[in-house]
């Protein structure tokens, strides 16, 4: 398991990471999400030793990640790091040799990944002659060419066409199935939901959510879609002081209601009916995007700009 333990990092007065703890089990794909500047890239750079943490440590299977361990990791930086004028195969062989492969192994591994990613026709082309999507495939191949013990990928899906996304997803799953931990960051939450076994949400340098997709999207949470002509402002106070609800309006005047803990569903029905007609009430599973919005503190001035404002209410 790849693990970050209490990682903190400051750049001058700015705290970038604050006591971040994250676990990426072997065989699992973990999606690392968060807004711009949340600290995703910094924490990944710390894992790879490109940046140093002010506090905390990184381990792989319990052992500290040192230069030797890092050499066995695969890394794909957000701003693509390859030589534009170097031939694709030559480039992959170079990175493979830098990871400790013999020249013969490096050649075979480079050929395999070019074939695997559909780039066999372009092996002798300079990288800059490839489309951006194909350059990204080469970048992935560079991260995989030495058969890494762990994969850390910063925004691997950005800019990819749907077909390339499918290939990338398939490859990541194969790597995880090989038994290695895979951590990748992304802003594409639908993709993360579809691809990942676990999701970690980072906000302002702090980990604010971490769990399986099912856990986060609340299979066990009491979420309902409710359609009524009654105004929530009228019926929420009727729920009683012990009931904590989160209400988010969706299309056609419907709202989603999340009842905390063991709240009584019948109590909700009664409260709504006292102020109007209850037209629809059914269990509701939110998307990861909605969960993300739930756990991220959206600044007040931005809330008004949202098309689907979230209302957090404490019944009183």
């Amino acid at each position: 398991m790849l693990a970050l333990h209490h990682i903190s990092k400051r750049y001058g007065p700015h705290r970038v990471l604050d006591d971040v703890g994250l676990e990426v089990p072997r065989g699992a794909i973990v999606g690392y999400v968060g807004g711009n500047g949340a600290g995703k890239t910094t924490s990944m750079r710390i894992v790879l030793g490109i940046a140093t943490a002010d506090a905390g440590r990184v381990t792989l299977d319990g052992a500290p990640v040192d230069a030797g361990v890092r050499a066995r990791m695969g890394y794909m930086p957000e701003e693509r790091g390859l030589y534009p004028t170097m031939q694709v195969q030559q480039q992959l062989q170079f990175f493979a040799e830098l990871r400790g492969l013999s020249r013969a192994d490096a050649t075979r591994a480079a050929r395999y990944w070019l074939d695997r990613l559909g780039l066999e026709e372009r092996r002798d082309s300079p990288l800059e002659d490839l489309s951006l999507g194909n350059q990204q495939r080469v970048q992935l191949a560079a991260a995989l060419v030495h058969e890494p013990d762990a994969l850390v990928l910063d925004e691997p899906f950005s800019g990819l066409d749907p077909l390339a996304v499918d290939v990338m997803t398939q490859v990541l799953r194969e790597e995880a199935d090989r038994g290695i931990p895979v951590l990748f960051s992304s802003h594409q939450l639908e993709l993360v939901e579809r691809t990942c076994d676990r999701v970690a949400v980072l906000q302002g340098g702090r980990l604010v959510a971490d769990g399986t997709v099912d856990e986060l999207t609340g299979v066990n949470a009491h979420r309902y879609l409710l359609r009524s002509d009654a105004d929530p402002a009228d019926w929420v106070p009727d729920l009683g002081p012990a009931v904590h609800v989160s209400i988010e309006s969706v299309a056609d005047g419907a709202v989603t209601v999340r009842l905390a803990g063991d709240s009584d569903l019948q109590g909700l029905v009664d409260a709504v009916r006292r102020h109007g007609t209850l037209r629809e009430l059914r269990p509701w599973r939110p998307s990861l995007t909605q969960v993300y919005r739930d756990v991220i503190d959206v600044p007040e001035q931005l809330q008004g700009a949202r098309t689907r404002p979230t209302v957090e209410a404490q019944a009183s």
Binding site: R70, L101, A142
Partner: protein
């Protein structure tokens, strides 16, 4: 797209292959493969070699380089003596009068005009008397005085000259012009190595610096540094660039020598020349490595092309200032202790010692000290550049101040 039947190859990674010089060798190989074994390198090198070959074969010969001494009819006697003493080392040109001679000097067609004066001889020059001409004139004046004294003493000057010429340590053997001429050739040889170092630094050090900056900007360096240490990356790039630059210089030099051989004008090489060549080659290699190392280290501080030249100034200064110092000291302060000091001083030694060897015998201990200082300078440059490189290359967001780059982390 994907081929399901593809079989993943069995591979075995051994991180020890990348440790220490192993990682450096991989970096060197990549640099050589992408810069040395390329069509553009072959074309540019062949072009330089062709220019050097043609220039050496068809360019002006060495004879034209002999300084021209103009003289009038009334100074013909002394001019004849100068001619006898200087041989090929001086060219004489008779002029009608002082005005005509002055014109020649002003137009740069003569180095000096020899004119009679009441007190002896007057020499008209543009700025300063050419040292070679000065030495010849001294000898000629001495010989003329000797002849006059002999005549006054009742000795036949021809007999005196005959006696002198057959005596060891005679005035003819003492003709400084002969020795001086060879020294000039060796001084130029020594300076040639210094100029070669500057040329290689300018031609290849600046692209190396640009390369370092681009690796930083493109973030390739982030991937590289997950596998190798900064010093391995820096050393690999510097070694490869030095090899490439020196290879190109060697090809151009070879073309020049081939042209000289074809033209039958290969210079005579004696023991002094060989010592200059040996010191020059060592100085050239160490000088280039030192400057390239500093350029690569300093380039890691910046992210924009427009910031690069400013960042490289200190390293360029370390090539150009010693080069200028070597030329100045050789021609203006050849006898001074400044030349001795500079030939053993850090940074300067690689450029100045070959020139000093051309001018005078150098004690063995001073040669040893010079080599030790040169090696220590290279090691110190690598230590400083390595620190700046490691402290800068992973930092983005503008130019990294030198003090921050050097700060211990």
């Amino acid at each position: 797209m994907s081929t399901p039947t593809l079989r993943r190859p069995e591979i075995a990674a051994d991180p020890s292959r990348v440790r220490r010089t192993g990682g450096m060798r991989i970096i060197v190989r990549r640099e050589l493969a992408t810069k040395l074994l390329t069509r553009s390198f072959a074309i540019s090198t062949l072009l330089f070699a062709f220019i050097a070959f043609a220039g050496s074969l068809f360019g002006p010969g060495g004879e034209d380089d002999a300084p021209v001494l103009a003289y009038t009819g009334s100074s013909a006697d002394l001019a004849t003596t100068v001619d006898a003493v200087g041989g090929d080392a001086v060219a004489l040109e008779r002029v009608v009068d002082e005005t005509a001679g002055r014109t020649l000097v002003e137009e740069g067609k003569a180095g000096a005009v020899l004119l009679p004066s009441e007190s002896g001889v007057r020499v008209l020059v543009q700025d300063a008397l050419d040292p070679q001409l000065g030495a010849l004139l001294d000898v000629a004046l001495q010989e003329r005085a000797l002849r006059a004294a002999a005549q006054e003493a009742g000795v036949d000057p021809q007999v005196l000259v005959g006696a002198v010429e057959t005596t060891a340590g005679s005035a003819v053997l003492d003709v400084v012009a002969v020795g001086q001429d060879l020294a000039v050739a060796d001084v130029l040889l020594g300076l040639g190595f210094a100029a070669g170092a500057v040329l290689v630094v300018l031609l290849w050090g600046i692209p190396l610096a640009t390369d370092v900056m681009q690796e930083k900007v493109s973030r390739v360096v982030e991937i590289l540094l997950t596998s190798v240490r900064p010093w391995q990356l820096l050393a690999g790039k510097v070694v490869a660039t030095t090899v490439i630059g020196l290879t190109q210089l060697a090809v151009v030099l070879g073309a020049t020598l081939a042209a000289l051989a074809l033209g039958g004008s290969l210079p005579d090489v004696d023991a002094v020349s060989w010592s200059v060549v040996l010191a020059g080659v060592i100085g050239l290699v160490l000088g280039v490595v030192t400057c390239n190392t500093l350029m690569a280290g300093l380039a890691a501080r910046v992210e924009r092309q427009e910031d690069l030249s400013g960042a490289l100034q200190p390293a360029l200064g370390l090539a150009l200032v010693p080069m200028a110092a070597a030329s100045y000291l050789a021609f203006e302060y050849a006898e001074s202790s400044w030349l001795d000091a500079a030939s053993m001083a850090p940074v300067f030694t690689t450029f100045v010692m070959p020139v000093r060897l051309a001018l005078e015998p150098v004690p063995a201990w001073q040669l040893g000290l010079s080599l030790a200082v040169a090696l220590a300078t290279t090691v110190a440059a690598f230590a400083v550049a390595g620190r700046v490189y490691a402290g800068s290359v992973l930092r983005s967001g503008g130019q990294v101040p030198l003090r921050e780059a050097l700060r211990r982390r």
